[in-house]
Symmetry: C2
Subunit: 286 residues, 2 copies
């Protein structure tokens, strides 16, 4: 770990950032550097038994922050609805097994969009299905004591990954789903998805204690791929520290999660370099 | 031109769609097919004398709709301001020479963003400079009788091309710049940039007679390049006809302009195929 000093108390590593490693190695390397929380993806969790993962985490005094992910609600055929719900319910159960703070919802784009085989172009209808899907999932998530974090995705993902594209929309969903502010549904604010939004400042203030997660990376120039070309903090266009100040002014005091998908750069470097750089850049830019 | 029937009265060809051709060939081929309006780019106009272009247009009974483009207002150093203004003023004069209906404003991203060499990350400051830049340019555009059309660009261009990323922002600018609705500044609604916007319907209604241009193409799945992978109408995720109905309900009765940047596909096909396909798809999908 070279000359990197201990990471800040609120640094959380999203495990996708260290994807070339398996979850076992990720926990080990993060623990060695004093990282106190991770947000794992289901496909990285799958190869291991929950009891085994819990043992690693306990030994490392490490928490699971966000569990990634459930969602993908819109569907063109009613027959698909049950399968979507079953999978989402399993995600809730897995999050509970891991003692996660919340489950991340990537709500889904147009039906068939993820498969590049559109079954419908009706984005207004897709958005209604997202609302109904979350309402349904909440009935399972509440007794499991897993909070759902609606993550608005950048508008460039509207067709294939999420038709929830602004923080304002996500907070609207919370207002509808949880009018009495029980707090079992909230939002995830990722600077990569939201930094461009002219209404960001006011929507963060409006979200207030509904913010369950704050995620960081950077917007590269050029951006060579829509999905997998996120930048390391400091290497792009985003005023991360300014946005962190906004969420903290709104009352957020959770972890700051580093989530960098980088097929084109970081995934080709040694994981130790990526992790050490995350910790160093966090200190300087988050 | 094969079996393609005469294009609809309101079809306008943006000349970038037929970029492999020179402007002379574009006017000739469009005229042969009965296209009544074009929106040319400055670099395609430059090789010719305005008097020559006017002669072609008159012979073809063809109008210049939008002139592309001015803008790029944000700057990190005060010294750059004069050069930006000079260039924008020239664009207004050129638009007037061509008898254009309006001049398209691509407002600019972060200073240095277009060159991938950021000089500032302050997007709020960039947005202030856009407002000031348009206000300044209006003083030159008004006497030239050239209307300025603020085109919000997709949020994926916030860093490098435009920090005006929603129709709501563009209409806000109009409210500030033209409170008495003289009409010398308005907005351009491009389905490619705006289709994802959850506030699109209400902002189009609010824009009302400030809509100076309506532009069409489609959002491909996958989108392989941020700038140059637009789809032909019907080949993507956008409900073009639904959005056209919104702008017409708001009072718009101008041309429907086809603007497809396609380094990855259409630019490699014969221009005749691209143009004939535009005309055929317009009839079916616009």
């Amino acid at each position: 770990m070279g000359n990197v000093s201990a990471p800040a108390e609120k640094l959380c590593m999203n495990t996708a950032t260290l994807r070339p490693w398996g979850l076992d190695r990720i926990v080990e390397e993060c623990a060695r550097r004093g990282v106190r929380a991770i947000s794992p993806w289901r496909d990285q969790v799958n190869p291991f038994a929950f009891s085994e993962i819990r043992k690693w985490l306990q030994a490392a005094d490490m928490r699971v922050f966000g569990y990634c992910r459930a969602g993908l609600f819109p569907h063109a055929m009613a027959a698909d609805e049950a399968a979507i719900f079953d999978d989402n319910r399993r995600a809730v159960d897995e999050a509970a097994e891991l003692g996660a703070d919340h489950l991340i919802l990537v709500c889904g784009g147009l039906p068939g969009g993820l498969q590049w085989a559109l079954q419908s172009k009706d984005i207004e209808q897709a958005r209604i299905q997202v609302y109904e899907g979350i309402a349904h999932l909440l009935e399972h998530a509440r007794p499991a004591r897993i909070r759902l974090a609606i993550e608005p995705l950048h508008p460039m993902f509207a067709a294939d990954r999420s038709c929830i594209n602004t923080l304002g929309q996500a907070v609207d969903l919370c207002d509808g789903l949880d009018p009495t502010r029980r707090g079992d549904v909230g939002v995830a604010v990722d600077v990569y998805h939201t930094w461009w939004d002219p209404l960001l400042r006011e929507q963060i203030a409006r979200a207030a204690n509904r913010i369950l997660s704050f995620q960081v990376s950077d917007w590269r120039l050029p951006t060579r791929d829509l999905l997998n070309d996120r930048g390391m903090m400091g290497d792009g266009a985003i005023e991360i520290r300014k946005i962190r100040a906004m969420v903290e002014a709104a009352g957020y005091d959770g972890f700051n999660e580093i989530e960098i998908f980088s097929d084109l750069d970081w995934y080709h470097r040694p994981g130790t370099e990526t992790l050490d750089t995350c910790i160093a850049r966090y200190a300087r830019h988050v």
